[in-house]
């Protein structure tokens, strides 16, 4: 074994691909950053990656890390491509003292990493994306998808629609259409919506748009003809911008057009300009940069010249930026919890997982973090990896996004059976015995 290790090191050095220039110096918390700042989805990847990275940099600069331990962010460019994502994972997982958590940022990459995570003992936080049934912590020990899944979101958005219509019973006979990206991601809400349509008696119809979605005239002609009452959209990349423009062109009322939270960023509405006014989308955090934490970031990161993307300064606080920031914030809290549980400052992936499972960020803690009201309180348990399951609706007012509704809870009567079914299927296929969460 020793020989093999030695040969590995030698080979790595000789073939000129330094995998791990292991700094033998002080322990650092290794946080990989699966960026996608290139490729067709770069416009969405850049703000998220900046939010994620800036928060860690801010912790280092302001507090000297977490409990005195410095954080090392290891960026790796995936270009939103599954294969490059796998390469990134393999490259960064042993970096330094070992990666602590992965935020894969793509449904495709998440599916790749789920089986790897349990073998390599590194937790995955697919925040609001990825495999929905991973909410079942009994089966998916290493995967977390709080604060809410696509299924929960679909249900919450239908609740919002019901409220707007004057009650869930008013949904009967209404038409709700789903315009979705023809991919695994886009198909996520279909089953939930089908179940809900049975329950509430509305008509559901899915209209797929193929990647990349530059041309969707026919889809919108259909919508113009069939006049649905509401449209939900699971879109991604250029598809969002084109869809919003087309909707505006056929004069579909924007305040009856709701996107998933990946279809609700500044990028998506800007090309449509004024016409996008009133467009809605799901959200689990506030946009904007008026929170103390943002001020700290600008002060300690941008003004101190420590930012990876200095040109981004004016855009701090964009929807996707805040999403990256919130993700990093929860991860940092999981680190604190893990250190507390295991009473050590040198964490491993396995300890980090325990930290995530014990995560409890309430209002008070949010305030301490300088993020009061930025997002919802999160509490994770062994069996529930989805946490709070709360979704609000935000609206574009022509200049910025604003949350315009309460946070809705999904209809778990419909969703829980779906989660159980899917996770049990996974457990059976992969010979996993569900944990006992007592």
């Amino acid at each position: 074994m020793k020989l093999r290790k030695w040969i590995v090191t030698a080979a790595a050095a000789v073939v000129a691909m330094p995998l791990a220039i292991g700094s033998a110096s002080a322990y650092e918390l290794t946080i990989p950053s699966m960026d996608y700042r290139t490729g067709p989805y770069a416009p969405n990847g850049i703000p998220f990656a900046n939010g994620w990275t800036d928060y860690w940099t801010m912790l280092n600069e302001r507090d000297g890390g977490i409990n005195g331990v410095k954080i090392k962010v290891v960026p790796c460019e995936t270009a939103y491509n599954t294969k490059q994502g796998v390469e990134c994972y393999e490259k960064t997982k042993n970096e330094g003292s070992g990666a602590l958590v992965y935020q894969p940022l793509s449904t495709g990459i998440t599916y790749q990493l789920i089986p790897k995570a349990s073998v390599d003992k590194i937790p995955i936080h697919s925040m609001g994306y990825g495999r929905t049934s991973a909410a079942n912590g009994k089966v998916f020990k290493w995967v977390f998808n709080f604060p809410a899944t696509y299924w929960s979101q679909a249900s919450a958005l239908v609740k919002y629609i019901g409220e707007q219509e004057g009650g869930m019973d008013k949904l009967k006979g209404k038409k709700i259409y789903l315009v979705y990206h023809n991919s695994a991601y886009g198909k996520e809400p279909i089953r939930t919506l089908q179940e809900l349509s049975k329950k509430h008696g509305f008509t559901y119809q899915g209209l797929a748009v193929d990647h990349p979605g530059q041309e969707q005239k026919a889809t919108w002609l259909k919508i113009r003809r069939e006049k649905p009452d509401w449209i939900l959209m699971w879109g991604w990349g250029v598809m969002n911008q084109v869809a919003i423009k087309e909707a505006a062109s056929i004069r579909f009322p924007m305040d009856r057009f709701i996107g998933v939270w990946w279809s609700g960023s500044e990028n998506d509405v800007k090309p449509a300009g004024e016409a996008a006014k009133g467009y809605l989308s799901g959200a689990f955090h506030q946009p904007g940069s008026n929170f103390p934490v943002h001020k700290d970031i600008v002060k300690h990161v941008y003004d101190a010249g420590k930012a990876t993307d200095p040109a981004f300064k004016d855009r701090v606080g964009e929807v996707l930026y805040n999403r990256g920031l919130v993700a990093a914030m929860w991860a940092s809290e999981a680190i604190r919890k893990a250190m507390e549980i295991h009473n050590t400052k040198e964490l491993t992936g396995a300890m980090m997982r325990d930290g995530y499972e014990a995560l409890d960020v309430d209002e008070a803690r949010l305030k301490e973090l300088g993020a009061e009201g930025l997002t919802i309180p999160v509490k994770i348990t062994c069996e529930n990896h989805e946490g709070p399951r709360k979704v609000a609706v935000q609206q574009w007012d022509g200049r910025q996004w604003k949350i315009v509704s309460d946070f809705y809870e999904p209809d778990m009567d419909v969703i829980q059976p779906l989660i159980d079914e899917d996770s049990q299927k996974f457990a059976k296929e992969n010979n996993i015995t569900p944990r006992d969460c007592k």
Binding site: R4, I7, V8, A11, A16, M17, P18, L19, I21, D35, R37, T38, P75, C76, E77, A79, N81, T82, K83, V86, E87, E90, K91, K93, N94, T107, G108, Y111, Q112, I114, P115, K116, S118, V119, D120, R131, T132, S133, N182, S183, A184, Y185, K187, E188, I190, R191, A208, D210, H211, T308, D309, L418, D422, K425, F426, E429, N430, N431
Partner: protein, 358 residues
Amino acid sequence: MFYRESGQFKTGYAADQAVFPILQDRWGVLLMLIIGFVGVPLVIDDYWANAVFIPFLAYSLAALGLNILTGYCGQLSLGTGGFLAVGAYSSYKLMTGFPELDMILVLLGAGAITALVGLLFGLPSLRIKGFYLAVATLAAQFFLIWLFYKVPWFYNYNATGQITVPPREALGFLVTTQKADIVVRYLFILSIVTVFAIAAKNMVRGRIGRSWMAIRDMDIAAELIGIRPFATKLSAFAVSSFFIGVAGALIFSVWLGAAESGETFGIIESFLVLFMIIIGGLGSVLGSFLGAAFIVLMPIGVKNVLVDWFGFTAVFAKHVEITTFGVLIIFFLIVEPHGLARLWQIIKEKMRLWPFPH
């Protein structure tokens, strides 16, 4: 000096027709096989296996398949990604439909199904040629990807259309999923690729290979000596698709473990595999391997050098990598349009004569 054929006399046509008529070549190949089967497993780790060796081998097989169609038979195809997807999805259906089936049979089955699909999409080659055919194969690419999203039967009606590999064994060894030992997975894919490479070499040096090349070089003349163009083209489509289908099954089951049709087997795959055979060498088995090595290793190499050595930011390095990729492709096309395999041949010629230049 050491690469000479003087003193090696062939005593029969059998010896003259051997794959590697020159002794040193035989030793070279043997050495490569020993390194591949014995040396690499000693040092391989997750990164090298998952990011370098397994993708390299899987893509070599795909490149080999495309090279049969494009390099040997002259039919330009941009549908490789779609055929890889057929291989992946049919292996998934076989694995979940017949859980007892040995992985080797699953691979062969996936190859056979892909061959049938390849035959179907090869039919237009009866009437259209060149770029027109290439663009027509794009129809296969887009249609197949769409089909695997749209028809739930292909992904066993699960919620999203993602397929995930179940644990399966080949000859009693677990070869799929993350639980399989990485060395076993590597050796499995290496064995499969070796067998297919030998099969390819045997085909291209025999009658069928000559028929393909005859069609490529001048289909009219070939027809007049009794080679039926349509049947020959179709056989190239079938064999090529078989190889690509097995490669797709391997990419899904042994390498990635999960796949989504458009995401994993998109149009970009078609171009990458085409790059491999053009940079490696059209109409060369060795070239398929060299090209796959180049295309798989180049981006990783550039990335590691730029990020780890020169401290570029990941994003800038990625942009530079994309640009460099393009520049290198153009550079290679200009310097040696016949690919790395030809370059290697020229080096060998030089060595044969060394130290006398003429």
